[in-house]
Amino acid sequence: MRNGNPTVKVGLATCAIAAGAAKVYETVKESLKDTDITLERAGCMGMCYSEPNIEVIEPDGVKYFYGNLTPEDAAVIVEEHVKKGNPVQELLILGEGCQTEDASFLSKQHRILLKNCGHIDPEDIESYMAVGGYEGIRKALTTMTPDEVIEEIKLSGLRGRGGAGFPTGMKWMFTRQAEGEQKYIVCNADEGDPGAFMDRSILEGDTHSVLEGMLIAGYAIGASIGYVYIRAEYPLAIRRLKLGIAQARERGFLGKNVMGSTFSFDINIREGAGAFVCGEETALLMSIEGKRGMPRFRPPFPAQKGLFGYPTSINNVETFGNVPRILHQGASAYNSLGTEKSKGTKVFALAGKIKRGGLVEIPMGTTINEIVFAVGGGISTGKPFKAVQTGGPSGGCIPANLGDTPMDYESLQKIGAIMGSGGLLVMDEETCMVDVAKYFLDFTKEESCGKCTFCRAGMNQMHKILERICDGEGREEDIAILDDLAHKIKMGSLCGLGQTAPNPVLTTIRYFRNEYDAHVKEKYCPAKKCKALIEYSIDPEACTGCTLCAKQCPTDAISGQRKEPFVIDDSKCVRCGLCINSCRFEAIKVTSEPRVTV
């Protein structure tokens, strides 16, 4: 028998809710109704692949972690484990005496920033304070001058996590030194990379750490107002931020005379309105000012002339999240991790064709292979690993043979990619690299604000060329034109959007030239992705004539007699894939053959 009651935690971040965690939470709540066992909400543990999750913490601190649960499983866990004390082995993914593959997902990571995510209740300031929360700002206010805070951040080697990796201490120093009767802190929570969710998870799972980071920055540079610019697509993060700000105000951590000192600071929230370019700092400021988010020329940098014309320091969510830890634990603890020029850890959103996708935090300098295989468990489809894309639409594709590359700012730049904000997309052999390049360009061309001609018109041209290559109408000279346009767009664009948008095209040409050639010269798609270059057919040996596929086909392209092999009329087929989904005999084949021999 155990002494006292266990605590039960259910993960309720966006990914968890999408996987059905709300029902699991309800079930647990219902079954615990007549007990005095504590049920808590937790943020994202990062193990998104195993949602919904329940964690049971025994009174002696031993933890059991369950994954991939249905409400029925949850009921069993409550009855057997929570109430009777018998862990349900079949459903456990982490825990005492339980050797699962999932354990390596966490053991290979180094969690500083994500330490609280999934463990504290993000909607309760006490929960954050119990693990040392708001001690960083207290230390700064009571024992350090603003210059000493900046010195400490410089010493830690912290570099901006928003993409460019600019040293945070320097940015703060410039803003502190700039003249201005008013100064601002802005937290960039626009997270525009369409495949990244690190910032969202930190905001949802450890809301107060970001607020504390902003407070410390405000004290360091002498600002009295902070803004969080957050994308409207993150309703849960917005709600928790509002709640967090209200709780911090109540405690006297925000508002006039923070913690009884002479320093005053308050934070406002501004919701983005759906424009990728607004993640760029000057565009973001325009947007907070209530205008179209069009980037402007720098200098002057925001540190000199920022929001409403006053000196402003803009930093990323993850950057702010690191700050309280640095102050609390000291710069030397922080800079002992990482490489010579890239200190600390980095959070990545590991997604794509990966077994264990989710949020991973690793020391800078960990290699790509270590992340993909040791942490992520390898490729989900069982097919060979082909490439990773870092940095989203501004980044580059890195082929599997460069898998030994350490993830740090300099090494990635050397091979034509960037660290970016932390999207890490894994691709396998079934991924067509031309299609990937086209996808990213489709995104960036739509998001170009239109100010610079090369960015606006050039990317449209590049996209058109990629489209015709995928349609099997590529011309020999197309690859040279793409290369030429890419360099001109990089040169001729004012902001980081245009300067980096051609990267996915340039890196795929550089590392996967053979795929471009296959599309252009031989008119086939090695990954069997590009619709115009593939064919659907039915294997007469395997087909049993069950008629299921014919019923599914939206264009009536499939015909035949019951119990006889069916056939697909290629002229009607739109390659939607519904038939493959419906076939239980794997009789439907997708093929792509070289058509022109050179």
């Binding site: 966006t14 990914c15 809710i17 999408a18 996987a19 998104c48 692949y49 949602e51 525009g192 990379d193 369409p194 495949g195 990244a196 969710f197 969202r200 998870s201 409207a232 697509e233 993150y234 501004r270 919701e271 983005g272 309105a273 759906g274 424009a275 990728f276 947007s287 907070i288 000012e289 209530g290 205008k291 179209r292 988010g293 409403f308 959103a349 997604a351 794509g352 064709k353 996708g357 989710g358 894309q389 989203g392 999207g423 997309l425 691709m427 991924t431 990937v436 996808y439 990213f440 995104f443 604000c449 599914q552 939206p554 739109v574 939607c576 894939g577 519904l578 989904n581 419906s582």
Partner: protein, 178 residues
Amino acid sequence: METNELKVLAGENPLFAIKEIVQRHNAYLGSAIPILQDIQNTFGYVSPEMMMRVSDFSGIPVSELYSIVTFYAQFRLEPIGENLIQVCHGTACHLAGAEKITEALQFETKAPAGGTSPDRKFTVEKVACIGCCSLAPVMNLNEDTHGRLTPDKVKKVIKARLKAAEAEAESKGGSKDA
């Protein structure tokens, strides 16, 4: 005033609702975007007439409001259908076959790309990453997120939604009679 109260007010007296929204924000610098966001939350879209009223109450030129509404993807100039479907076309979802999901939705709902079906039951939009990449491909149907989609599953989700809508309509009709 809460969003729901505003919605009620908007139904009774749209002009008052607009005035209330403008007054709530107008004292702040750079208020145009939050005002328009509240207008859209309340009315579901932003029409030229609404922009003119906002301009009357706030003093912000209509041209400036229009420039904002047309720049940011979030704003809609037309009302949406009864159900809003947002298909994620983020990177992970693209790799997992988001294109096929959108196609299946278009077949199923008859809504054109980015538009509303002729029966006004569904609006199908493309959005970027909604942060559930490990469940890719993903879509939002109104408030709910559906993951690990296949074209087949899409069909089922739409059928279930139509059925639920019918049941709702019936029970509403029923309670009126009672």
